[in-house]
């Protein structure tokens, strides 16, 4: 309990430091001004969300191959955490876009594929709620999770393959693109902080799923008596 509290405090300190760095250390962007500072929160959340979906995909794949209950628990936990991060992306994006573009939303390839990703993982969780039998629920949701992950490379590639309203990539983009060195350091520090938060939330959510597994096992034991 104490160890979890210390880890939680360390993660909170890290995300607080990242927020401080994005406001007070990163220089102001020339054309957009202060509103660009949302980028450090928005893009770092997007990267952490994608990592959570990658964890979900690997857990789903492992479940299909090995039928390991722990993989099922990890899959649903990572899907929920990834969904929370993607929700943050879908909220902070339009808040940034409105003063910069003059519109809240447009159906370009990046925004649409991100919204579809969000819908896919909402469907993944709804599917799990609809299925009662544990083995069937785990298998069908793992298969659906593998399918849902196909949208992640599409989200990544959307601003590289097509012309979009969304800004072109500044990380892993075309030659000549990139961030000013201090901005780059602050961005990668924010990515680290959001990943730490993602791991913390994932471990908490996994504990809940493990507890649910223990409960169902005891329930079966009670019914068998």
């Amino acid at each position: 309990m104490l160890k979890r509290g210390v880890i939680g405090a360390a993660v909170l300190f890290l995300v607080g430091a990242a927020a401080y760095a994005s406001f007070y250390i990163a220089p102001e962007e020339r054309t957009m001004g202060a509103i660009q500072r949302i980028f450090y929160f928005h893009a770092a959340s997007a990267w952490a969300g994608m990592t959570a979906f990658l964890v979900c995909f690997l857990a789903n794949l492992t479940y299909v191959l090995r039928r390991n209950q722990k993989s099922d628990w990890l899959g649903v936990s990572a899907a929920e955490v990834g969904l929370a991060f993607t929700t943050v992306v879908l909220i902070t994006g339009p808040i940034w876009a409105h003063p910069v573009w003059g519109i809240w939303w447009t159906w370009d390839a990046r925004l649409t594929s991100t919204f579809v990703l969000w819908l896919l993982y909402v469907s993944y969780l709804l599917l799990r709620n609809m299925l009662e039998e544990p083995d069937r629920r785990a298998l069908l949701s793992a298969l659906f999770g593998i399918f849902a992950f196909l949208d992640v490379p599409l989200v990544f590639g959307a601003i590289r393959w097509w012309r979009t309203q969304h800004p072109q990539p500044v990380i892993m983009g075309s030659p000549g693109s990139g961030l000013e060195p201090t901005m780059s350091k602050v961005f990668f520090f924010s990515v680290l902080a959001m990943h730490a938060l993602m791991v913390l939330l994932l471990s908490e959510r996994y504990r809940l799923e493990k507890m649910r597994g223990d409960f169902q096992e005891l329930q079966r034991e009670a019914e068998a008596r």
Binding site: A34, A84, I91, P99, E204, R212, L218, A222
Partner: protein
Amino acid sequence: MKNLDSIFAAYLFGWAVFFVFYLTVAKRASALRGDLDRLKDTLNRGK
């Protein structure tokens, strides 16, 4: 600082999502812990 209200809104709503998510996990865990303890008691009494 221009657009401060938008920056504030982005951080506020963003952190609210993480906070609410954490709260729902903690609430579900607390309810399940109660159910688990009750079931364990029932099973122990039945032995």
